[in-house]
Symmetry: C2
């Protein structure tokens, strides 16, 4: 999460909402790192999670990330939670909870219904305050 937070800081420095994500393989190696790119690419699907998952999948040359962990500084939205489910990640570790845009513990609660295709282990609130602090700083700068 320390590395994901550094990525989030970097996102912040480039004018993006500070979110950083990485993928760890089953051996504990970081195989992908990404920052939010929505503003720079003018494309709302370029969330850090999606970019990190795509990178990992390209690196491994396969469409499933079985045994992998997605680490992200903010609770994923329903799009990213749905993507993580399609990639079959084993685990999602996230920082700050997101009562407004989150899709795991809030809103659509993507993994909390019977039809869910794949339910990863979820660990939320890891270094929550550090992530919240960055987000708060970013939005204060905008005002």
């Amino acid at each position: 999460m320390d590395i994901a937070l550094k990525l989030a800081q970097h996102a912040c420095d480039t004018g993006e909402i500070p979110v950083g994500a990485l993928v760890i393989d089953k051996h504990g190696n970081i195989i992908a790192q990404a920052i939010n790119q929505v503003e720079n690419q003018q494309n709302p699907t370029k969330h850090a999670e999606i970019l990190a998952l795509q990178q990992a999948c390209e690196l491994l040359g396969q469409k499933r990330l079985i045994g992998c962990t997605l680490v992200v500084t903010l609770e994923p939205c329903s799009m990213c939670a749905g993507a993580a489910s399609h990639y079959r990640v084993d685990r999602i570790v996230f920082g700050a909870y997101d009562p407004k845009g989150g899709g795991i513990e809030h809103g659509a609660c993507v993994f909390s219904h019977r039809q869910t295709l794949h339910k990863p282990e979820i660990i939320g609130g890891v270094q929550e305050q550090a992530s919240q602090k960055l987000l708060k700083f970013f939005f204060q700068q905008l005002r």
Copy 2:
């Protein structure tokens, strides 16, 4: 939907789950067309909806698709419904309902909770049988 069904047939011919999608702008012009590319690109985010939305956004050079309609032959999953919400499409028209993988009328019901960022108009079941017939044919071939 006739064009989306032709795209779905094309997906089927290339070994993909038969789903086709297109985006119509506020003037009624088709500005993007895509087929499911999950198998060919070995990437589970390459759903027809995501590809069509990205194409439309690149064409218009903006990150919002206000006034646009997403037409797709199958009920979008939670990932695609979440993406459509980020793109701020006005309307989603879909063909077959998907009780197993759908994320609008089933499962996560992405737009059916208070926190939803943006709720497009939803019209489901358009040429439902034609879409179901294609899907059934595809999965029968696999067995």
